[in-house]
Amino acid sequence: MPGAGRGQELVPSSFLIPPSQYQLPARYAARMLGVENLTVRYGTHLALEDATVQFAPGTFSAVIGPNGAGKSTLLKTLVGLNAPTAGEVVFTEGGSARDDVAYVPQQQTLDWAFPVTVWDVAMMGRTGRVGWLRWPGRTDRERVADALRQTGVYKLRGRHIGALSGGQRQRVLLARMLARDARVLLLDEPLTGVDAATQEQLMALLRAQADAGRAVVMVTHDLEQARRWCDHLVLVNRRVVADGTPAEVYTPHNIEATFSSSHLGHTHAEA
């Protein structure tokens, strides 16, 4: 069904980025991480069933679906926080790839009253690189300063994180992610609670990270933003409903199948 439903676009075409960016550069040649036949259950609750997806370097992927569709479950399983009930997480570049995955949680899952400053949070991104029993050095401080400048919160570095707006908090979390310097970036709902202007900047920043060769994976329910900025969409509703380029995936049929009230996932479509 590639290209289907062009006439029924939900987004004005002026929002679209150039078609060249929809191509998947070497996506299957250099697969970086993914899941194969993944099923995750929490007790009796089936969160995700028989999902197979790959995420590639140089690609900005969006995992899209309604609440309870298993989007966050997918990310957490990639990180190693959930154990697969069946199936497996695959890293093609060796088992050590796991510590090369940066994770940005949903803002509201963090405790913003925590006694740390903007600088402290960004420096947390260096924890793994600094290593055990060592203190951050000059390189680490430069990286952190650089990351804070890129996300536009360098001037706020001495502030307590509780004093920040939603957009500023997200910028700080992205700064931590940049300071981490990981090859795989996983973000859970980075656009939630963020103003429109900041959303644009965050998306451009993530796009640039993908263009620089990283695998960027964002969980979101914002179809329009995902379609504008990403070159790989995965529609999820307990199962993988569709997986491919925006042109392939963004069809009325797939969207209906993903966001219809049914959570049973019986409308499984092959992309």
């Binding site: 990180v79 994770y103 963090l110 740390v116 402290d120 931590r176």
Partner: protein, 269 residues
Amino acid sequence: MHLLTDPLQFDFFVRALLAVVLVSVLCALVGAWVVLRGLSYIGDAMSHAVFPGIVGAFLAGGNLLVGALVAAVLTALGIGAVGQRSGLKQDSAIGIVFVGMFALGVVMLSRAPTFTTDLSNFLIGNPLGVTPGDLWSALGVTVLVGALLTAVQKELLLASFDPTEARATGLPVRGLNNLLLILIGLVVVLTVQLVGTTLSVSLLITSSAAARLLARSLKKMIGLAALLGTVGGVVGLYLSYFLNTAPGATIVLVNTAIFLLALTLRRRE
């Protein structure tokens, strides 16, 4: 001035004073993490769970500190194991393990009828009974715990603030948690001599909670907790001397008052 210097002519008072300062600093170091990670309940559990270790060491004629430490390690690992194997939430695991351990201590105690007077000391504590040996072990533990916590500070910080990212970074989140539980057990054992098990949690948490209300960074929070804890300990000890009240409980009351003061100060901000 005589009011302040008078009690100092007694060796037991000087020892108590030193012990209170040491333990306050120690409690601030560990208490900061207990408060930040929402582990207050575990602190309480730990104070009960070390009981069989203390009774066992007493019956065997061994070192109480070592006995309690063994119990603390077993409890920490037990909570983790029960939580993982059963899939129950951690609060259930804590409840099961600590009540079980405490009951074990009570049963062991009932086999040793002569222990009862020492039991009251164990439950209530008495800073004025601190021996020079106790002081040295308190100093040793403070240095050890301080060094350990400083060594893993940045890892603990990330694991406390954002466990998921900590996991993604490859940190042993569960191992850090166990380390913290064991250190809590160790600190509880030391504070037992001063304020007894039932009040030891207060020493661990109250000053740190007050410091958290006022401080904006971790370093300031730990420093402030140590300062508030020391002030509370010294003031409480002098008050108990002049009012002839139970020293441990008096210290806890002063700490509680300091916490309430911090709360009103913050409200005004």
